[in-house]
């Protein structure tokens, strides 16, 4: 029991961060607006959660210009994918 709880990742406790990771592990990348539409959250809210996932190096940020407009792409790092998988497995263990 204790071991399983250890595998639960604090970074994914929050529902929005959980949603961001879920979307990013099945897509090569998503831009800010795609994530915003998917999650239905405000710009500021999404930005702060993205920032915290970026700090833990679970996601990677890529800035580029599309038709002279800035476009930010987010993708999950290998570390992030592994951590997320571990988290899901821990939840499944807990529910068994």
């Amino acid at each position: 029991m204790k071991d399983i709880l250890k595998d639960l990742n604090k970074a994914f406790e929050n529902r929005i961060r959980l949603g961001i990771m879920s979307a990013l592990v099945v897509n090569d990348y998503l831009d800010f607006n795609a994530l915003k539409n998917l999650l239905g959250v405000t710009d500021g809210n999404l930005a702060s959660h993205l920032k915290s996932l970026e700090k833990t190096e679970y996601i990677r940020v890529q800035k580029e210009f599309l038709d002279r407009k800035p476009n930010t792409k987010y993708s999950a790092t290998n570390e992030g994918k592994a951590a997320f998988l571990k988290h899901i497995k821990a939840i499944e263990q807990l529910l068994k």
Binding site: G19, A23, V26, N27, L30, I88, L94, L95
Partner: protein
């Protein structure tokens, strides 16, 4: 006390798992495909086939059902019928899907839609051009089987990015196309089954299954 905390957490984790599943699906697949667009496409295809039938067999009569000899004029009319049928089917498809995305407050033109369309259109357009070329060479009998086969391949290819039922629909269309290749001359009948009946059946299944 401890027990209560554990129980509350359990509910949270069940919700978490559901959220993960939903997010993975929503972000990678176009799931707002409306069953109604399938039904309408099927009905339009049947109406189109009826006009084509009148056009082909207007002079030869009922007796020579399996023999179709076409003049250039008829051929151009047939292409016209085909084009209008396609336009109407796609138009209604977009209309019904739009209704559904609006209800779900989703954007119809997002990255999932684009990915779905690109993967659908690659086999479909290749098939379309191929069929036109074959038609110009005079192989009219092969048009119905080939359109069914290419449409089926397009559906199988696009099914990764949308509802899973689309894959089995595609496989059925391919099988039907192959059978139709053997029974050349009965193309219109197979065409009616593939584009008409199958669309209607699948449309109804999806409408019932995903009605929320």
């Amino acid at each position: 006390m401890n027990f209560k905390v554990l129980f509350m957490n359990q509910q949270k984790y069940i919700d978490d798992l559901n959220e993960i599943k939903e997010m993975m699906n929503k972000s990678s697949k176009f799931i707002s495909l409306s069953g109604l667009s399938g039904i309408s496409a099927g009905i339009i295809a049947l109406v189109g086939a009826y006009f084509a039938w009148i056009n082909i067999y207007s002079e030869t009569g009922y007796q020579n059902f399996d023999r179709a000899l076409l003049s250039w004029e008829q051929l151009i009319q047939l292409l016209g019928i085909g084009f209008i049928t396609l336009l109407l089917a796609v138009g209604f498809g977009i209309f019904f899907t739009r209704l559904k995305t609006k209800k779900a407050k989703q954007n119809i033109w997002d990255s999932q839609t684009k990915r779905l369309l690109i993967n659908l259109l690659i086999p479909l357009l290749s098939g379309g051009v191929f069929c036109l070329l074959i038609l110009l060479k005079g192989y009219i009998g092969l048009i119905a089987p080939l359109t069914l086969i290419f449409y089926g391949l397009a559906l199988v290819n696009a099914s990764k990015y949308t509802l899973t039922e689309v894959r089995s629909l595609g496989i059925l269309e391919i099988i039907l196309g192959l059978i139709a290749t053997y029974f050349i001359g009965y193309g219109l009948i197979f065409w009616c089954i593939g584009f008409g009946v199958l669309h209607i059946v699948y449309g109804i299944i999806m409408e019932v299954k995903y009605k929320s």
